[in-house]
């Protein structure tokens, strides 16, 4: 019994170990006979298959799958890829895509944040209420406050310097976007500024810039 092709499997999947040195045509014949012998063992199963032990081209993989389907009643549902390099590549792509997706979603918080309260989130945050002095918001994404900002906000905390902080009444104690920190130049005694406009803070040239919100800016 040649051990150039070894079939290893369970109820749901099969690993086909192939010899690396044997010429492909010969291998095909052995695969065919192996699966024919084992056909009544596998019966009409839906299986996932992995080929190991030999680098196969896509065409070769297809040929082997065809041979398996012809010689047994196995339904090959999918072919599993055990290649570590491919796995790593897919993992990173997936992570990036998911990150991009989560960044376009946010969380809502309804209510005021008072001194001593800390709101932490991995997603962007929209606060419907005021953030008073002594309160802190920490987010990996953007922070939008529909109200007064008098507290401390850290946006893009995991290093994303494209994050922004927007508020209807921007008077923060301290803001940080990514690694860049800006402190308020607030004069201590109350200066009632009745003409407050919605402002947005963002990073440009390693500085935090604050501008009044208008449509063109957001583009």
């Amino acid at each position: 019994m040649s051990t150039s092709v070894v079939i290893k499997g369970n109820q749901y999947g099969i690993i086909v170990l192939l010899d690396n040195d044997m010429p492909f045509q010969q291998l095909k014949r052995i695969v065919a006979s192996k699966f024919k012998e084992a056909s009544h063992f596998f019966k009409k199963a839906n299986m996932a298959i992995t080929f190991e032990g030999r680098q196969l081209t896509l065409l070769e993989e297809k040929e082997l799958i065809d041979i398996i389907s012809e010689n047994s009643s196995i339904q090959v549902i999918c072919l599993l890829d055990n290649d570590k390099e491919n796995e790593q590549h897919y993992k990173e792509t997936l992570k990036d895509r998911l990150n991009a997706l989560t960044n376009s979603y946010g969380q809502f918080y309804k209510g005021n944040l008072i001194s001593g309260q800390v709101l932490e989130s991995e997603k962007s945050i929209v606060v419907i209420g005021d953030v008073l002095t002594g309160a802190k918001i920490i987010s990996s994404g953007n922070v939008i406050i529909i109200g007064t900002l008098k507290g401390t906000v850290y946006a893009g905390v995991t290093g994303d310097e494209s994050s922004y902080i927007a508020a209807l009444d921007m008077d923060p104690l301290q803001i940080r976007i990514g690694d860049i920190l800006a402190k308020s130049s607030r004069k201590r005694m109350n200066q009632y500024d009745t003409d407050t406009q919605a402002k947005i803070a963002f990073v440009e040239d390693d500085y935090i810039c604050m501008e009044t919100l208008y449509t063109d800016l957001l583009e």
Binding site: S115, G116, Q117, V118, G134, K136, L173, Q174, R176, L181, K183, S184, R186, R188, M189
Partner: protein, 263 residues
């Protein structure tokens, strides 16, 4: 080797934080390297009095838990390069820190600074115990009021029980006009009751309120309080300085107008 001074009182609101800020700044002005530590966890306000509240990133609890180094948490003062502040946490409470941790922190800092000034919270529980854990000497702040003096007396007892032998008294918010009328205890009365050495007396001065609101310690400026605080700093350094006359110096014209005002 630095000296660890704890500024305590027992009673709240007598002027510990203001005194810590001014003494720290005064000593820095006189050329010493100073670090102020706010040990009132949960109700921090030394940063506000120093005017540094918008520079806080890390705090005392972060340092003790090892989330950051002392250098990252300590904030350099706006005016003096040799003065630093280690702020307290706003969102934790006094159980976040224990005496052993404070002792270790203060002994680490002793090697880097000439003076380590700990602003103690009011009360006699965990916060107080944490603050006095590593202290070499204590400055007890009191006002010339019966309630404050009773609490100061208790504090003196607790400090002695904790082996802090070097204690000095600061009397805050003296109103010489009331003392003259007999409505308020004089410096001598207070020293008699508490039986510890006095190191300074401060008048009830509006300028102090203004200075704490602006976040600019008043020590070293030209008013009575500023001079009094500077004298206290000099006495801490060992100089012996005569006490200021705390009677408000009114010119002739203001004495005249005050006759017409008070009916």
């Amino acid at each position: 080797m630095g000296e660890v001074i704890v500024v305590t009182s027992g009673k709240g609101g007598v002027g510990k934080t203001t005194t810590s800020a001014n003494i720290g700044t005064g000593l820095a002005k006189l050329g010493k390297s100073v670090i102020l530590i706010d040990t009132d966890i949960g109700l921090r306000n030394l940063d506000v009095v120093m005017g540094l509240e918008n520079r806080i990133v890390y705090n005392l609890v972060d340092v003790i838990e090892g989330n950051c180094r002392i250098k990252q948490a300590a904030i350099k003062d706006k005016k003096y390069n040799n003065l630093y502040l280690l702020p307290s946490a706003q969102t934790r409470d006094k159980t976040s820190v224990n005496q052993e941790q404070m002792k270790k922190l203060t002994s680490d800092l002793k090697e880097k600074f000439d003076y380590i000034i700990l602003d103690c919270p009011a009360g006699i529980e965990q916060g107080f115990k944490n603050a006095i854990a590593g202290a070499d000497r204590a400055l007890i702040v009191t006002t010339p009021e019966v309630s404050a003096i009773r609490d100061a007396d208790r504090i003196i007892g607790l400090l002695e029980a904790n082996d802090i032998k070097k204690m000095d008294l600061i009397i805050n918010r003296l109103r010489m006009d009331m003392v003259k009328r007999g409505d308020m205890m004089s410096i001598d009365d207070v020293v008699d009751i508490l039986s510890i050495d006095i190191i300074g007396a401060l008048p009830d001065d509006e300028n102090i309120v203004i200075s704490t609101n602006h976040g600019e310690p008043i020590v070293g400026t030209n008013c009575v309080s500023g001079k009094a605080y500077m004298n206290i700093c000099r006495r801490i350094l060992g100089e012996s300085i005569p006490y200021l006359d705390l009677n408000s110096n009114k010119g002739f014209f203001s004495k005249l107008t005050s006759i017409f005002k008070s009916n």
